[in-house]
């Protein structure tokens, strides 16, 4: 088992923490993981991205030329990484703010209205967990229980009362992801 994933979006969308929670959950299931962020001025509002690799075998490069799955949360990310999805790989995007949708016929594109749903439900802070839910629907590489354990480990204790809300967001994300029409 091996998944090579790029997660990219605006700074502040929870891109890096989404990757971290996924990596942590995999680690707790005894898998090998790497989490490699673009660590520049992105944190202050530009585009942020992180490469996450989860594998049952030791991992070579933390930096990749092509990805099994791409989670792309803004237009610049989609423009940059769509060409780097492996043939038959998965591209997940939130249509919010995306004018030019993915066009490649040789990959599977999935749309998840996470921003809209999060706003409707008043759960904007869990935006990235809707996305994670959508991803896990396609690639159940970790159990939800491990994700919740990972959240418990990575969130400061004062936020632990939000764990059920996060779980709700993950489950909702699994429901709302759908194939994108090209």
């Amino acid at each position: 088992m091996k998944q090579e994933i790029i997660i990219s979006g605006f700074g502040g969308q929870g891109v890096l923490s989404l990757g971290k929670i996924l990596a942590y959950a995999a680690l707790m299931e005894g898998k090998e993981v790497t989490w490699m962020p673009a660590y520049g001025p992105e944190q202050r509002g530009g585009t942020a991205n992180v490469t996450v690799i989860i594998s049952s075998e030791p991992i070579s490069s933390p930096i990749l030329s092509a990805y099994d799955s791409a989670i792309l949360l803004n237009q610049p990310s989609l423009d940059k990484f769509e060409p780097k999805v492996k043939p038959q790989g998965d591209l997940i995007f939130d249509s919010f703010g995306i004018l030019d949708k993915p066009t490649r016929p040789d990959i599977h594109s999935w749309q998840i209205p996470a921003m809209e749903t999060a706003a409707e439900l008043g759960m904007m802070k869990c935006f990235n967990m809707f996305i994670l839910g959508g991803y896990l629907k396609l690639h159940p590489i970790v159990d939800i229980e491990s994700v919740i354990k990972a959240l418990r480990k990575t969130l400061p204790e004062r936020h632990h009362h939000l764990l059920p809300t996060n779980e709700q967001a993950i489950l909702k994300g699994m429901e709302i992801i759908q194939p994108a029409s090209l």
Partner: protein
């Protein structure tokens, strides 16, 4: 603090800090700079002064940090600093003094793109500085190049051990990739800091103000105005460096046994090259990896031996061509030695390296 092994998901920089506390480090002196600020941040967060008694000082500058290291090391304590390329450049005077006065200590360089202030993105362009001394005078620093977060943790204790064994500064030469990425780490069991008695036993040269009744005052200095004495001291240093070259070379090989071509790469470049090798194998090219772990002492003999068996080397390093000269010296012109790197903070992708491998194969055939 836990005494058993601890498994965590950590950034390389965090691993360095945690490993330092666990291996009985006595003091850290440093000044923040990207991409290594998490070393100091993690130490500040973990407050080891409340548990092991380890001192953590945010110094006023890199120059102050390295001079604190000189002072701390001079008393026989396990002391360290960390910085990134421009900060390490500022420390070179102090490192040279430490080498001259034979003061042990650990310097961590999480490299970023240069020259000058450069960028904050990963680079390996301080190879020459690290492996040729870096400051004035004839001297060497023991240089370890970690290629994983696990090695970031493991090399802290190793670097201290070597530094004290040879009374010489040791350096962990890392980069922004290894410093910033997170991986699974098994932290070693915690061991206590050495007691004053242990230090007195292991470091009879230390100048700590405790031995005055039994002996003459210790003098720790790099200055000697009599050139004949200074030449003797240099000969002593050179003999020591020779000993280190004979005993402390470390490296790792991967698929080199039946390889036609071998990539020579260290640190993050070795990791990326490993992926390139996986792709090259799928395309039918027999490629192996030689990864120097000690950059000084350099595994010259091992690379020379390999140059008799393979058709070409590709040196992959994130700079304009520095280690390639050491590989060429070792290969003695027997086979083509190409170099590939990206500059200024750009990291090469596995695909780019695969292309270079095929170019090398073409060239070797012609």
């Amino acid at each position: 603090m836990k005494e058993e092994n601890e498994i965590l998901l950590l950034k390389g920089n965090e691993a360095i800090a945690r490993a330092a506390i666990r291996c009985g480090c006595d003091g850290y002196f440093g000044y923040p700079i990207t991409p290594q600020s998490e070393v100091l941040e993690t130490l500040a967060e973990l407050k080891p002064w409340e548990t092991t008694g380890m001192v953590v000082v945010q110094a006023e500058s890199e120059v102050a940090s390295i001079n604190m290291l000189y002072g701390g090391g001079g008393t026989g304590k396990r002391v360290m600093t960390s910085s990134a390329s421009p900060g390490i450049a500022l420390m070179q005077e102090g490192i040279s003094y430490m080498a001259g006065a034979e003061v042990p200590g650990l310097i961590v360089n999480v490299q970023r793109g240069g020259p000058g202030l450069g960028t904050i993105q990963p680079s390996q362009s301080d190879y020459n500085q690290a492996t040729r001394g870096g400051g004035n005078g004839d001297y060497n620093v023991i240089v370890l190049a970690p290629a994983s977060v696990q090695e970031m943790a493991d090399f802290v204790d190793l670097a201290f051990t070597l530094a004290f064994k040879y009374r010489n500064p040791a350096m962990i030469l890392s980069d922004g990739v290894i410093g910033q990425m997170m991986e699974k780490v098994v932290l070693p069991p915690a061991k206590p800091r050495r007691t004053e008695e242990e230090i007195a036993r292991e470091c009879p040269w230390a100048s700590n103000g405790h031995g005055l009744k039994q002996r003459k005052p210790q003098v720790i200095t790099s200055l000697e105005l009599q050139p004949d004495i200074m030449e003797e001291r240099n000969r002593h240093l050179q003999a020591k460096y020779k000993l280190i070259q004979e005993n402390e070379v470390r490296y790792e090989t991967h698929c080199t046994d039946d390889a036609d071509y071998v990539i020579v790469a260290f640190g993050s470049a070795a990791r990326i090259s490993q992926k390139a090798i996986e792709i090259a194998h799928e395309k039918g090219l027999k490629v192996g990896l030689f990864r120097p772990i000690t950059l000084w002492p350099f595994p010259e003999k091992e690379i020379r031996e390999l140059s008799h068996r393979v058709k070409g080397f590709l040196v992959v390093e994130i700079n304009a061509g520095q280690m390639v000269f050491d590989v060429r010296l070792a290969a003695e012109g027997r086979i083509p030695v190409n170099q590939y790197g990206r500059l200024g903070g750009i990291v090469p992708s596995p695909d780019e390296i695969v292309d270079e491998l095929f170019k090398l194969a073409e060239q070797a055939k012609a």
